[in-house]
């Protein structure tokens, strides 16, 4: 009963915030609303008893995505200050109305489809829980990710790598040259938060075997630590070691592929772990994935291939237009 009240408060707010975040006239505030929407969605995942997803949404979905969009906005705003969006008109009313009608029709159709779904879908819960003991881990979500559907996760780590390759080939990223010397409080915040972030990342990896958590949540925290370092202007030494960085980025895919090859040789099945040792293999993959995911998510924030040192901002902006 009281839970229903909770739902009836939470969901209308989520829908309203989604609308406002996409249609606010001020783009900056729209982005902040978008971040708030992500955090409320994380609360909704807690409510739906999906703690793994809540962890990922809180860290990746709203945190990193929000920071990414925010910094892209600032970057674009700086360049276009002279020519703001007033130069271009919006879409005329007629088209707006017809798209609105189309969207309403879509909404109605979706509602019909979604309500018509069977009340008790024949889920895979029983199938996946029945063989949990063979998977080598006790967290059902980790078992699905890395044992039953391991190739999904392999491809996903590949997608991360592709994304960062794409970003690096499109643009050069500038390290924010924040000066901490006049912000002593910020430095002390970093001193507290950074170690806890790294510790929590390791904890997420370890706990992922038995309970919600795992490489993605841990990697997101590691990425957050990297973002903080870059914001504080402290990451120059890390980010400029190009070889090491590249090695870290491909580590996840490499180790995963190697495990695939080894399991193929041992058992003759693609990602079929030898019986009983699934847990160990999963741990190896997850540890390598943690490093790659953390680096990838952190470096996405940079918005391009890191450039060496500072002071070449003119260079950088002209390379933007090459």
């Amino acid at each position: 009963m009281i839970l229903q009240i909770f739902d009836w408060v939470l969901l209308p707010v989520i829908v309203a915030l989604a609308w406002r975040s996409l249609n606010d006239r001020d783009l900056f505030r729209a982005v902040i609303k978008f971040i708030a929407l992500g955090l409320l969605l994380a609360v909704a995942w807690v409510r739906l008893r999906a703690p793994d997803v809540a962890l990922a949404e809180a860290a990746v979905g709203s945190g990193l995505t929000g920071a990414l969009i925010l910094s892209a906005l600032v970057r674009m705003r700086r360049r276009e200050q002279a020519a703001t969006s007033e130069a271009t008109g919006g879409i005329e009313v007629m088209r707006r109305v017809s798209i609105g009608i189309l969207s309403l029709a879509l909404f109605a159709a979706l509602c019909w489809a979604v309500v018509a779904l069977p009340a008790r879908p024949t889920g895979l819960t029983e199938a996946s829980l029945a063989r949990l003991s063979e998977s080598g881990v006790t967290n059902p979500v980790t078992a699905v990710l890395l044992n039953y559907r391991g190739y999904d996760t392999l491809l996903e780590v590949g997608v991360l790598l592709l994304a960062i390759i794409g970003v690096w080939s499109l643009r050069r990223g500038e390290l924010p040259a924040a000066d901490l010397s006049d912000r002593p409080l910020l430095l002390s915040l970093l001193r507290v938060v950074l170690p806890v972030l790294v510790l929590a990342a390791g904890y997420m990896l370890w706990i992922g075997a038995f309970a919600p958590g795992g490489a993605f949540q841990g990697g997101a925290l590691l990425g957050g630590a990297l973002v903080l370092l870059m914001l504080g202007g402290l990451a120059r030494r890390v980010v400029n070691r190009s070889r090491l960085l590249r090695a870290g980025l491909v580590l996840g895919v490499l180790v995963f592929a190697m495990v695939c090859a080894i399991t193929l040789l041992l058992t003759g099945g693609f990602l079929q772990y030898p019986s009983g040792s699934g847990g160990a293999w999963i741990m190896v993959i997850e540890s390598a994935a943690l490093i790659s995911i953390g680096l990838t998510l952190g470096l996405l924030y940079l918005g391009g291939r890191p450039t060496g040192g500072q002071g070449d901002s003119a260079d950088r902006s002209s390379s933007d237009h090459a």
Binding site: R183, L185, L186, S188, L189, V192, V193, V196
Partner: protein
């Protein structure tokens, strides 16, 4: 219902009071500095009381430790971030409210 449960209930009620007070402050205060003050201070007391209430219900030491860690993190983060916002607003020339200004 044990004594601990009653205590938890009381602490949570007190926490809600502080959260509501913080919100009222946010809604009523005239400028960003006083709003920061209302939000940060009242909410931090609320967080402390909530954490204390849940500590009473904790099943083992690690839960108590984690709750304590969460509390410290929230304190450090909200104190610093509120300072940063206030400082930045002041640098950018937002005038603090004084008696007499509308």
């Amino acid at each position: 219902m044990s004594v601990l449960d009653v205590l938890t209930g009381l602490l949570l009620t007190a926490a809600v009071f502080f959260f509501v007070a913080g919100t009222v402050g946010l809604l009523r205060f005239p400028d960003i500095y006083s709003r920061l003050h209302a939000l940060t201070k009242a909410d931090n007391v609320g967080v402390g009381l909530t954490v204390l209430a849940l500590m009473l219900q904790a099943e083992n030491g690690s839960e108590i430790f984690k709750l304590g860690l969460i509390w410290v993190l929230v304190l450090v983060a909200s104190a610093t971030v509120s300072f940063l916002i206030g400082n930045e607003a002041y640098r950018r020339g937002q005038k603090p409210w004084t008696r007499g200004t509308p």
